[in-house]
């Protein structure tokens, strides 16, 4: 069922203008918990909480069979901020994970545009970055600091 969903997704997907900056190349190890905590440190509006991998998969429509590790911190509904990191089983899924994160950003932006303009603005600065098999989504109050953290982590 998930494979079918993924196929449908690919067929229906717009050509997305990703903000991703793929570093690629070579096997890479990222301390996902530390990176998530560091990125969450750039978020000052509202509280975030770690969610289960299934909630995460349902939020981003990820194919869990193609994800070897994941972590996500979602918000209380008060803001658009969130942090999600996935390690793909292999690099063939990286592009699709990036696209799924972009779809999440687009969906959220459409909702927040009518509901809460300041939060919608944060989504304009959403960061989607990849390095090796890892893909990160970060919607932050301080995207510059988040970018810096990601750069230091090799993204």
């Amino acid at each position: 069922m998930k494979k079918k969903a993924a196929s449908c997704l690919m067929a229906a997907m717009f050509v997305l203008s990703l903000t991703a900056c793929g570093s690629g190349g070579g096997k890479k190890n990222v301390d996902m918990a530390k990176l998530s905590a560091d990125l969450q440190g750039t978020i000052t509006s509202g509280s975030l909480g770690e969610v289960s991998s299934d909630i995460m998969a349902a939020t981003y429509f990820l194919d869990t069979s193609k994800i070897s590790e994941s972590t996500a911190a979602l918000n209380s509904g008060a803001s658009a901020c969130e942090v999600a990191i996935v390690k793909c089983s292999d690099d063939s899924y990286v592009k699709e994970a990036e696209q799924l994160f972009q779809t999440r950003v687009d969906n959220q932006a459409a909702l927040f545009a009518d509901y809460n303009a300041p939060e919608a603005a944060k989504l304009d600065d959403a960061i989607i970055a990849s390095a090796g098999d890892y893909v990160v989504l970060c919607v932050s109050d301080d995207p510059e600091s988040a970018q810096k953290i990601l750069k230091e982590a090799g993204f």
Binding site: M1, K2, K4, A5, C8, L9, A12, M13, S45, G46, S47, G49, V51, S52, S53, D54, I55, A57, A58, T59, F61, L74, N75, S76, G77, A78, L100, T103, R104, D106, N107, Q108, A110, L111, F112, D114, Y115, N116
Partner: protein, 268 residues
């Protein structure tokens, strides 16, 4: 659209941990409410805590605590529909089963018109999303975005229609309908408008109670544990005065597990 695209069927969290933590937190809140100095006339009847004035007339439709909490398998055939507060519950409570159709800004007025449920192919309306879900229980939370409504009777009628239409999508001819109370706010923290106040929360909740009595729905009085005892959200539960922080979402889940309608009561 595939069912898995619109909701979570999570199975991974240790339920006992979340449950025990939230139960103790809920006890702490109640104890705190009992010992704080009186600022206004207290609600003296324990079963009325969190109910609006006049709410005592509707106690038969308020879901009571059961001696044995359900585990999350109870929610396997449940759909949770609601606004950003319900989304926070989904994200932060630790619930592991159930289908969630939640969106920031969801309200009765835009319920049918706005494509607001995220899918992998963009957003869709709640009613369209419901077509892909098998459910026999409905947990509903709207009303916060209606706090500025001029006509509360109209809110009740709109809510009634929405729930009636949701029921037609159920796999059951007679689904169990739980309607959550609108949770109080901490007014001093709210920046989204003066109308987001607890007098209006009470007004909306009274209309919801009326609807529950008229339709035979089950009112879940979350304010029993989230009220400070004086018609306000317990202090410290929310960073923006509206959306609940994680421990309080866990309390919400614990309360939902212990407040349900037993099967024998449903068939009575």
């Amino acid at each position: 659209m595939e069912e898995e695209e619109v909701f979570a069927q999570a199975d991974l969290l240790p339920e006992e941990t979340a449950s025990s933590e939230s139960e103790s937190s809920a006890e702490t809140q109640l104890a705190s409410a009992e010992t704080e100095p009186l600022e206004t006339e207290p609600q003296t009847e324990p079963e009325n805590i969190g109910l609006p004035e006049g709410g005592a007339d509707y106690l038969d439709y308020v879901v009571h605590e059961q001696p044995t909490p359900v585990d999350d398998s109870y929610f396997e055939d449940a759909v949770f529909i609601g606004d950003s507060r319900m989304e926070g519950f989904r994200n932060l409570s630790g619930i592991t089963k159930g289908s969630f159709l939640t969106a920031v800004g969801m309200e009765l007025e835009n319920f049918y018109t706005d494509a607001q449920i995220p899918t992998a192919r963009g957003n869709m309306t709640v009613m369209d999303a419901l077509k892909n879900i098998n459910f026999t229980k409905i947990y509903m939370m709207l009303g916060t975005n209606e706090l500025g409504a001029y006509d509360m009777d109209e809110v009740r009628e709109s809510y009634r229609k929405v729930l009636s239409d949701i029921k037609t999508c159920s796999a059951s001819a007679d689904p169990v309908v739980y309607v959550y109370s609108v949770v109080y706010v901490e007014e001093a923290l709210v920046t989204t408008g003066d109308y987001v106040n607890n007098a209006n929360v009470d007004a909306v909740n009274l209309e919801i109670l009326k609807m529950c009595r008229e339709e035979g729905y089950h009112y879940i009085n979350l304010n029993e544990i989230l009220s400070d005892g004086y018609h306000s959200l317990v202090s410290g539960a929310s960073s923006d005065g509206i959306h609940l922080d994680q421990p309080y979402c866990q309390d919400w889940l614990s309360y939902t597990r212990s407040h349900y309608v037993p099967d024998d009561a449903e068939s009575a």
